[in-house]
């Protein structure tokens, strides 16, 4: 992923920065310009550090950037303030994951970009 593009997403990947819609109260992550309720008025908000697993899988055939990491677990997590994200769940065995289990977001390395070796960071989840 080219570095300017990586740089733009840092507030979300490093600090889970989101935006709360003043119209309907829904928290948008990443922040967006128009809410599905039609409102364009948002206030800064952070994705809660805690959440629960809605569904999950174990990836056994991965794209090139993740090839050396298989098998790894990926889940859809809903944060305590209602934001849903796709994230890896780490520091546990694949068979420890269950729908409904509580998780905490942590800051981790995701992968190393192929050509230039830029280390790409972001959030992952751990079971609590």
């Amino acid at each position: 992923m080219p570095s300017p593009r990586y740089h733009r997403e840092m507030p979300q990947r490093y600090r889970l920065e989101a935006a709360k819609c003043s119209g309907c109260g829904r928290v948008a992550f990443p922040p967006r310009m128009v809410c599905n309720c039609g409102s364009r008025d948002f206030k800064g908000e952070k994705v809660s550090d805690y959440g629960k697993i809605l569904t999950f899988t174990t990836i056994r055939v991965a794209p090139k950037d993740f090839e050396t990491e298989v098998p790894y677990s990926v889940a859809i997590v809903e944060s305590d303030n209602g934001v849903r994200v796709t994230t890896q769940v780490v520091d546990c065995k694949p068979n420890e994951l269950e729908i409904g289990k509580k998780v905490k977001f942590v800051f981790r390395k995701l992968y190393t970009e192929g050509h230039t070796g830029i280390i790409c960071y972001g959030y992952k989840a751990i079971l609590i």
Partner: protein, 382 residues
Amino acid sequence: MREVAVIGCGMTKFGELWKKSLRDIFVEAALKAIDDAGVDRISSMYVGSMTPGLFVGQEHVGALMADYLGTPQIPAVRVESACCSGGMAFRLGLFEVASGHSDVVLVGGVEKMTDGADVTYALATAADQEYEVYHGVTFPGLYAMIARAHMHKYGTTRQQLAMVSVKNHHNGALNPNAQFRGEVTVDQVIKATMVADPLTVLDSSPVSDGAACVLLASMDIAKKVNKPAVKVIGTGAATDTLALHAREDITTLGSVKQSAEAAYKMAGLKPSDIDLAEVHDCFSIAEICIIEELGFVDKGKGGLFTEQGHTSLTGKIPVNPSGGLKSKGHPVGATGVAQVVEVVEQLRGEAEKRQVKNAKIGLTQNMGGSGASSVVHIFTNA
């Protein structure tokens, strides 16, 4: 808008076509469609193709295909909507004829996936690059998460998922154009190599090369050509969030439901009026969700409905008589058009060993990504 019919169709065999190029397979399918109808000219062309740029490094395929088809002067454009590029191309061709602007339009779909590209990466570009793919998720992974949620919420079983693949391989074995013409068992599907738990390689559609083309025409031309006309009586398209995680309910494919409702409304039909359906079974779980969204069965009961045999060739509503994406193959951009080819052959009574008896009304459903786009068409031979 005026009535429109499919007057000709053709497709290549699907599979690993190493001796043929992207342009070769498109022109092969296009010539079959033109010869099938027996027309001597086309007014314009829509080419559905997901990502020839990533698969073979070739963009601008509308003009390329017009050139190699020997019609370099006609308007031609590529249509992209991930795996439903072909279905969306068909919808645009339909509107061009229905509007009265053109009398004969060629709609094709093509993909060349086995030329050495990183296929997992190329397909993943249909998901959210920054917020799904960045975290290492793949398409099998996204559908695996739908499967896990469906099993948890509705009690759908691992065996029921496998039965989709078993049924589609049975049908595909009867289809000379199918990539995999061998039958599989429930046990083989479940014990096959795991791709993304709980889905194995035999729950997944393959990597394929292939092309399919149809000719759309006004009814006055349709009455003069070789083959009986198959009328297009309904079209519907819809979108949903690109990211699977952003949906209200992970097990609901909202775009499929909405596109189907629009097509049913236009045709003045209900789900029970449909005699056969070609649907987007990119993974076994997808077919289960889709037959629920199309209204063939109540939400949550798609697995049981499949287990009871209602979607088999001789069932209540035969689904994927062609073998579906699973067995016939899934050259992504070609799939939506190949579905139309199958329904037209079924409605003409040309489907030989896989012919659905007394088929009068057929439906196609083609989907992009994890359901972020869907397009449905309804056809009749009446």
